[in-house]
Symmetry: C2
Subunit: 348 residues, 2 copies
Amino acid sequence: MDASDIRLLSAGTALPGPPVDNVTLARRFGMDDLWQQWIDVFIGTRTRHLSVDLDTGETVVSLADLGERAARRALSAAGTDAADIDVIVMGTATPDALMPATVNEIADRLGIDQIPTYQLQSGCSGAVQALEVGRQMLAGGGHRNALVIAGDSCARHFDLEADLRSLPPAELVNVVLFGDGAGAAVLTSDPAPGTVALRRVMTRFTGRGRAPGQIVRWFGQADRAGRAAGIGEAAVSEDYKAIEESVPEMAAEILAELLDSLDWKDTDLDFVLPPQLSGRMTARISERLGLDTAEEITCVGQTGNCGNALAFFQLEEVLGLLGRGDRAVGIAVESSKWIKAGFALERL
Amino acid sequence: MDASDIRLLSAGTALPGPPVDNVTLARRFGMDDLWQQWIDVFIGTRTRHLSVDLDTGETVVSLADLGERAARRALSAAGTDAADIDVIVMGTATPDALMPATVNEIADRLGIDQIPTYQLQSGCSGAVQALEVGRQMLAGGGHRNALVIAGDSCARHFDLEADLRSLPPAELVNVVLFGDGAGAAVLTSDPAPGTVALRRVMTRFTGRGRAPGQIVRWFGQADRAGRAAGIGEAAVSEDYKAIEESVPEMAAEILAELLDSLDWKDTDLDFVLPPQLSGRMTARISERLGLDTAEEITCVGQTGNCGNALAFFQLEEVLGLLGRGDRAVGIAVESSKWIKAGFALERL
């Protein structure tokens, strides 16, 4: 046990609007009961929260709104004042704008100034990447308290007038799989007793020679005018076959590597935070992990896949459950270009 | 002098296509000699390189193409094999896609695998932010050699069919101000004698309560379909008045802070790498800095404002000029939400 490990003081989360269930979504897109049952069975997501008003199609909540709310909750739960934060790291695949980085809009709203801020362009491993950059900033000794934020909004790609009957299945899935949300955490280099140590963080590109499992595009002025290369391309493409084949095995490898590096046995784990691509995939992954004694913490059935935010929903829950000496492992797999990520926690 | 300072072994850069001069640009947009003279006098950029084919409007070079070329040059100049790199940090405002991060596409092409990769969403301070994240990763002791990459492409927002006569001046400037390019550098924790030490890196958000000086938007499937909020908005908005008023003063403050933290006098400086928003602005900033004895290193007259890449063009040049004991300071100001950034170099 290394007393100098960085501590994870708190986590906070935020979701836009009320939960949108499958019946509501089916009605909004003019789809029938069969479609709704298909979501239940094959996706396993019961509700999600959206930044888009389903009546008007307008984006009513920004990523900065969500990030700010999550950050305030995390700061409050940690008992840390915004003035004590000396570095911020954010992860997202869907910033409000390319410039300025959303992290700076959030910093401004929190009344934070004169500190370094970083925003990672990241997907399902983004929460872990942001935790690791935050941890490194503290480990180097130059900073004491880091605010880590992560979140995503599918609003800009969520086309309410899409004709779902004409969409290929791979694109249809995108309409029901994703949700919007944000999370945040406070890290500190102060080794107070009773706090949760971030014992390991790993994030590693493993995509050499592999085609992306997920591509999310953005369009510019030239594309919008219908003149550039992007116009004919799907905004979001997923290779669900590759994802289904690879992710459970990758999750098992991440778990084994984390346990091995800490000399922990799988029966030492009290909690596991599995990857949450969808309710159904998470169930398959959990089966593959085969952790009989560790309690599983998931949220995807309620939140949908909110990308960078997901791990913070799990963290918020597990922080309330971890007793002294309890251990947890979190696992994330980013299929975009195949990143293995994970972390290990222990309350000291 | 701290022997443990991280070393900057090399820098490499890449530009797409041939230089595009103001006459060519004026002709392509059907503008007259007066417009061309206006660029010469008020912008001060003589050429830029573009990822777009001016005849067809097609994007012929991607950011991954540019980043890969710059990275190969930096690796070669450092005499470092790609296999020895154990972390990559990239900065860009204009990734090829939202997912996967462009850094991972570049890693794949370089044959790099099984290491952490990070991509920052950053603007004019992005090169410095990426250097600092790379530096922190090495300073923590967990990594030995970092590849830092930075670049931008305005291709997706570069609308060749825009009617420049109908554009307001603030948008007109965007057509001539920007260029595409990428840069890279190799950092190491190995304190070999004769190498250049990265004596200081600073990056600090200073935008509390200030409106953004630059906004660059992206559009999604819903915006493209003409249904969401973004459709009426300009892709790129700049507050040139605020930029002209603030940036020279901020640059002087960054210089003073860097010198002060190292106990260097301005006459100790052999080279200065000023911010390069445009040729004209750089001249104004240099005047404000008032460094009579330090040689100025700029490239914006030839490359245009290529955002995240700019500092690497300056670094590539200054690394060839820095003799033993020579000192240089680089300064960057990001107007998007007002970030102060800079670094100090010394050949030991």
